[in-house]
Symmetry: C2
Subunit: 357 residues, 2 copies
């Protein structure tokens, strides 16, 4: 029996991605070889990579002048690679601190230049995203996190800022249309909306290649990836294929506009129940509520463990909140069907009825 997977990541992917990945492990496209044993220089993998990049550009409507790169090491690696590649030692980067990950990004940047946290919601346990912040006009870039996985908050608008913007979209990429032209660099670990764990996508304005002047190790240098179309060394073949399968599914369903519609519907349904149900309350400020990671808390602390136990019989998985927030986190990524949310809402209502007896 399949579980309703609300895990925060690595997380649910479309069912057909699981099936097609399984088939590829046995025999890729009928070539008599498993995808796990083909060369990254084979025409089969070159076609996979090419189509993945093409689909990314089409689905996100990426303007010319940008390059799509695939790198290993996750968003954490990008916390270091971005300042290493972009920030010169005497320059400053501005950060808006909205969760643990933006904090990590700022800490890593300190090794390569100056940093300044220009706004933070830390004082309110990150339950909102700062909106009015003053940017240093001479800073090299502004770093944002568009969706905050732990605390369930999000920026929904791609705003114009007076300096280049770097954005960590690990947990909401492909969940809505993005105006890529507003960013110099977008990065995203795959393991939420894009594919299985082990690959990170970087969308980079080409004029930024070679921006920082420090001598660089090849594997930490965007220019090497750009020049070699992410094939300087052996990339994770299978992992990139799971991205391609997910993007094909996304395109078939109607792309990011359709995803936005579906994600809004799922989120509305769940937040409505959180607001209605007297046993629960949301964590994030209403106007900043994430559609990807929906955090809520039991009003009675004793209900926390009880509700987690209760949902087991509904085959609900991955609902436990992050330790710094507590409570529950229902991650509703693209691949999560609305039926899963309906089951969760039903479980919340049944729990309310049971508790009132």
């Amino acid at each position: 029996m399949k579980k309703y997977n609300f895990g925060a990541g690595p997380s649910i992917l479309p069912q057909e991605v699981f099936e097609q990945s399984a088939q590829a492990c046995l025999d890729y496209n009928g070539i008599g070889l498993s995808l796990l044993e083909i060369s990254h220089r084979s025409k089969e993998f070159e076609a996979i990579l090419e189509e993945t990049i093409t689909l990314t550009k089409a689905l996100l409507n990426i303007p010319t002048g940008y390059q799509v790169l695939f790198l290993q090491g996750g968003a954490n690696m990008q916390f270091a690679m971005i300042p290493y590649n972009i920030l010169n030692e005497e320059e400053t980067a501005n950060f808006v601190e909205t969760d643990l990950w933006s904090t990590r990004a700022e800490e890593e940047a300190r090794l390569y230049g100056k940093t300044k946290i220009i706004a933070s919601s830390k004082d309110a346990n990150f339950n909102y995203v700062p909106k009015d912040f003053i940017i240093d006009s001479d800073a090299a870039y502004l770093h944002l996190t568009s969706n905050n996985t732990i605390y369930g908050t999000a920026f929904f608008e791609d705003q114009s800022y007076p300096i280049p913007v770097v954005c960590d979209m690990s947990s909401d990429i492909f969940s809505r249309p993005v105006d890529v032209s507003k960013y110099h660099l977008i990065y995203a670990g795959a393991q939420k909306n894009l594919g299985c764990a082990g690959i990170t996508m970087v969308i980079l304005k080409k004029e930024w290649l070679g921006r920082s002047k420090r001598p660089k190790s090849k594997m930490w240098d965007y220019s090497i990836y750009a020049k070699n179309n992410s094939l300087y060394n052996t990339p994770p073949v299978f992992t990139i294929y799971t991205c391609l399968l997910t993007l094909r599914w996304l395109k078939k369903l109607g792309g990011v506009e359709e995803m936005k519609k579906r994600n809004k519907a799922k989120a509305a349904l769940l937040y409505q129940e959180i607001d209605r149900n007297p046993l629960f309350r949301g964590h994030a400020a209403v106007e900043d509520r994430s559609r990807m990671n929906i955090n809520f808390i039991a009003n009675d602390p004793e209900h926390e463990a009880a509700f987690l136990e209760f949902v087991n019989s509904y085959n609900i998985h991955g609902l436990k909140g992050y330790r710094t927030v507590g409570g529950f986190r229902a991650s509703c990524y693209n691949a999560l069907p609305i039926e899963s949310v309906e089951v969760l809402v039903k479980a919340m209502q049944d729990f309310e009825n049971k508790s009132s007896k």
Copy 2:
């Protein structure tokens, strides 16, 4: 129809690894979730990682005082991470240059300290491995590549040297017993004998953690991986599982002693035919012949394309040699059955018969 896969990497894995990986994509161990959607903090993945490390230690008979780490980015990433973590700026590392990869390792180390190539077989197109070299007794370490994928040469002995030894075992790890105590650091990209592409194993003497004094980015710091048991950030869950499956297979078959026996038998069979068949000759010096990557050349240059075409009808795949050597490369990694070598030998004999008509 399955192909006989002689590809150099990513390369053949055991058939049961393909089958079990496929099953895990659909439903991991009957838990109602695909392996591609489970958290790296789940008890399922923690068990996978733990067993992978335990099996590695058992199969390679790793003494106490070593740590097994899993990192992303391939051996190329290690070319940078090793000097970054080990070599202080004023120190020198010694390199034995036996192929393109050792050259890359040396070039990357120049960014972090001093380097010296103490021996090279470049003058002979890397067709042998240097044996008598003079080591700088005050060098921080000696870097070796145990098996040279491109040129088909190998060091087979784990020798004692007066300084710590770092060894790239990407293409022969688990192919024979290794005396790990002779090394301070062993590293290996997975995609030959260990698993699918996207993970690198590092076996590190713990006393070397924190050796270089430069401030480090977290994702480039062995100490962070060691402290977090390779779980500082999201690792490639599926990829590590393919390693576990391969190691289980290896253990079941009798471990690295049995692999050495099988690999010697496969190599002997193929080299015998290369030496016998008047149409072909080997590239590597006889005493340094790799058991993993068996390179040979057509004596008549016109036979090169013809033989590659000829083997197609035998379902032989991946035999084309690297561009700097030409000819043919039959990679005979652990998972390649001797039957595949027998088919190749038959094809060589049939080609000889056909050509003599």
